[in-house]
Amino acid sequence: MEAIFWILSAITVLGALFAITLRNLIHCVLSLILFFLGIAGHYFLLRADFLGAVQILIYIGAVAVLMLFAIMLTRHVTGDEGPREVLGGKWWAGMGTAVIIAGLLWAIIRKDQLAQILPAGGAQTSVVEIGKALVADWVVPFEAMAVLLTAALIGAVVIALEEVIRRR
């Protein structure tokens, strides 16, 4: 199990690193997908099967594909290299901040001695329970989520279709 954890962690971290450092945008998205896969693997390892499947379905099936489309729609020539200058003007500021935050989180985790805690164990939450909780106790957030997704859907369509509306 430990071995699986370390392999998955390596995949995840490398995927994330490549996603933000590679020059070619398509390669970035592909390594982002690797990262998503790694996270899904972690979910399976943590016995959150349902969430793992949802992760693959939503992130790889929808979000990554959306990103691919966005890249395709925002490039003049397909498949050429990205902008000549990959990093923004203040990249050192971003990296510095990220390093500081990582270091601090690391320190806090050390300090709070979270390392000693081991899994609680017990019966797994079944999909049926999740479904029941979703439509019984959490029905209002659930409906709010439905409204949010509908709004996002309509909003995204409207924003992206702007040109057509203007043309009419």
Binding site: M1, E2, F5, S9, A16, A19, I20, T21, L25, C28, V29, L32, F35, I39, H42, Y43, L46, A48, L51, V54, I58, Y59, A62, V63, M67, A70, L73, T74, V86, G89, W91, A93, G94, M95, A98, V99, A102, L105, W106, I109, R110, Q113, A115, I117, A120, G121, A123, T125, A133, M145, L148, L149, A152, G155, A156, V157, I159, A160, E162, E163
Partner: protein
């Protein structure tokens, strides 16, 4: 499984930092969005880790994670639509060039 909680938290902290770094220093708006997605995922991973280690029998954290994933998906859909709209306007996706709100 005998992986201590701390290892998982480290992992998600590093992933978060990587995502933050990407969101802060890349020029391309899509990569910035990708960085934000990485941060989202790190946070959700944290949720699930705590669920697994402490609240395994209750579905609350799980449902929270599902909501977080849905919100992240909605966010990225709208964000990418905005990127496309902005691209039409500026013919560029370089975040350094979007300075209409300059004070």
């Amino acid at each position: 499984m005998n992986i201590p909680l701390g290892d998982y938290l480290m992992l998600s902290a590093f992933l978060f930092a990587i995502g933050l770094c990407g969101a802060l220093s890349r020029k391309n708006a899509i990569i910035v969005l990708m960085g934000i997605e990485i941060m989202f995922n790190a946070a959700i991973l944290n949720l699930i880790v705590f669920w697994h280690y402490k609240y395994f029998a209750t579905p609350t954290a799980y449902i929270f994670a599902i909501f977080a994933i849905s919100i992240a998906a909605a966010e990225s859909a709208v964000g990418l639509a905005l990127v496309i709209a902005i691209y039409r306007q500026y013919k560029s996706v370089d975040v350094d060039e979007f300075t209409s709100l300059k004070g």
